[in-house]
Symmetry: C2
Subunit: 430 residues, 2 copies
Amino acid sequence: MKTQLELARAGTVSAAMQSAASAERVPVSQVVAELAAGRAVLPANPAHTALAPGIVGRAFRTKVNANIGRSTERSDDETELAKLKVALAAGADCVMDLSVGPNLASLRKAMLAQCAAPFGTVPIYEAVSRTGGAVEAFDPEVLFSVIAEQAEQGVDFMTLHGGILKAHVPLALKRLAGIVSRGGAILAAWMMEHRQENPLYTRFDEVLAVCQAHDVTISLGDGLRPGCQADASDEAQFAELDTLGELVARCRARGVQVMVEGPGHVPFGQIQMNVERATRVCAGAPFYVLGPVVTDVAPGYDHITSCIGATAAAYYGAALLCYVTPAEHLGLPTEKEVHEGLMAYRIAAHAADVARNLPGARDWDDAMTRARIKFDWDGQFKLALDGDHARKRFRQTSPTFAEALDHCSMCGAEFCAMRTSQKLAQKLSG
Amino acid sequence: MKTQLELARAGTVSAAMQSAASAERVPVSQVVAELAAGRAVLPANPAHTALAPGIVGRAFRTKVNANIGRSTERSDDETELAKLKVALAAGADCVMDLSVGPNLASLRKAMLAQCAAPFGTVPIYEAVSRTGGAVEAFDPEVLFSVIAEQAEQGVDFMTLHGGILKAHVPLALKRLAGIVSRGGAILAAWMMEHRQENPLYTRFDEVLAVCQAHDVTISLGDGLRPGCQADASDEAQFAELDTLGELVARCRARGVQVMVEGPGHVPFGQIQMNVERATRVCAGAPFYVLGPVVTDVAPGYDHITSCIGATAAAYYGAALLCYVTPAEHLGLPTEKEVHEGLMAYRIAAHAADVARNLPGARDWDDAMTRARIKFDWDGQFKLALDGDHARKRFRQTSPTFAEALDHCSMCGAEFCAMRTSQKLAQKLSG
């Protein structure tokens, strides 16, 4: 079998490429060119039969990922399947199941059947879950089995922390917050305990063989992403990044699609540098950021602290944004929080697309403005990112549209600037 | 009487300057220098006896303003006084009363008595309210009376739209959204109707005399701020900005403190240019932005769409951020929405201060990180921007602290990266 990368290099147009091109409203030749150059990925495992393929890359609409999944202490399959529905309804472009605990394959099977969006996992979570859940029991052999099984099952992309090396660990342990990536922490503990190099690095060729065979897109995890403002852009982070750049080249050499994960927690003013450096070191591979969170002081509002960073990241070069919910740093998100996280991140993604003049992006804003100046409330709610929410809020103050035909209750009729402005324009043109 | 600007120029240290310096934890000489250069303002009308003065300028902590006030159709004095309390409790650095309708002086008197933060108004709202509320009845004489009365009453700063000129109006009416500033629309309609220039411009010396006598800080309003992405950075906006630059010089020549208001709705990628241009044209006068909103498609979430822009604006040079609530574009905000707006904007202001390395700004984040890595939940909630909110959310998933002594329910104990990382650090150092 050939991966989408190999097909694109050969100039072959796949059904997935056609579908992505039509979703993006671009010529398929652009999809082929971006894939062939490695600047975009089209995560589409043929075994994921429910998939409607979507493309992730800088030339296209900025995408949003939603993380769901049960922890060892909270939630169950039914709840997480409900969250999957909420995430897709709220416009998630891809979904990752981060579940840990028993019977992950059956939950994943149900999710894959219901998920038309590209579906991702972090196989080390299942590997640790299978060996009893204790970090100390982590077994690389189990991890390689899990990767193969998940690839067969239809997972479209996998986070693999191949870039954290033994030499990086002491750099990270000097930090204020240490290692905050679950996968990174597990691998670091194993490397130090066994005095061996990261198996995902030393046996990366095995990983590549599996991913090539099933066209699984590798999302190179940043196990040493900073977990607070103080740790951002440090030696540990950039040492791992250099290794990720090396792995990108190895993925491409094997025809495996690859994207790269980025921080984390980063002060607003360091985001441009981070995105540009990652893009350079990783030779233009699509950059997939978590947030970044731009201040650590607002637990309960981390969908906001991070969507600020996500907008900047997407403007400066990220292609995929991993949402953060209001529950971040406090607990596992509820369905409502999944929805809120997606709204914040769809704002970030779209605002970045408008800012970078992505063709057609501002049309949505302009249509909203046209409805707004006509006081066409119904039209505004139909166009709105979250029409139900906006309609409900509007009705709370203005129970009927009739009383708001040429103004709203915020300023009142006499003080409505748009009303005054429009009357003036009519008068001057009449 | 001398204004704080005149005092600073004379090298006189006022009580207000002392108080501002101690609030900012900077030497008072820095406060004096910034004020004397016009790069900061200290809005402190001596008649506002309840005031605890605060300084607005680039050398200091980024400040947040909360707009409250009744419209002609909604709310009442009691509700708006309740919102004032909410705004101050949520950390508003200054408050503007945008009320319209009858009996504004008595509401303002009550607000001034209860408001320790600098208090601002938009006098044209009261002027129009007094002449019956119809824009057509706007009378410049009434406006000048209102300015004088409000100055006597103790208003610390006033938005005055002196920069919108007759020649600018046709430029703005060509736009998709036209004029969206209430003050701007009223003045534009009056200028076109009477074929006369903006009285706030032609009689600016009268304004200056009043503001000098009462040390009212002028906030030069941007009557032609863009109201949608499509209209940002256009000829109308920048024509008005040039006039504002001229008025800044006239304020300074008369010893009147002045800041400048900015857009509005601006694509993320144009914010740096906008802030830098305004700062240049207005010779470093403190820049006071509304938002900016970075996409028009998300009514109901405009505290988010705009705090993204506000973070960028503050990072690139704005000194004061006017909050936007989730009710923006839909209705008058409730108390809860006033709180939500302030939380979003305090995040924006602080994130910008961290990013621009304002001395001491990151200490708050670092303290939070130290509490976080110790799993000191109580400590985190005490430090949090909104501790009650964070505590409530945490307890929803983890009813007791006891079960979260070394992990939280988001990942569970076995998968807690911080727990693994810390055990590893202890092991390696032990």
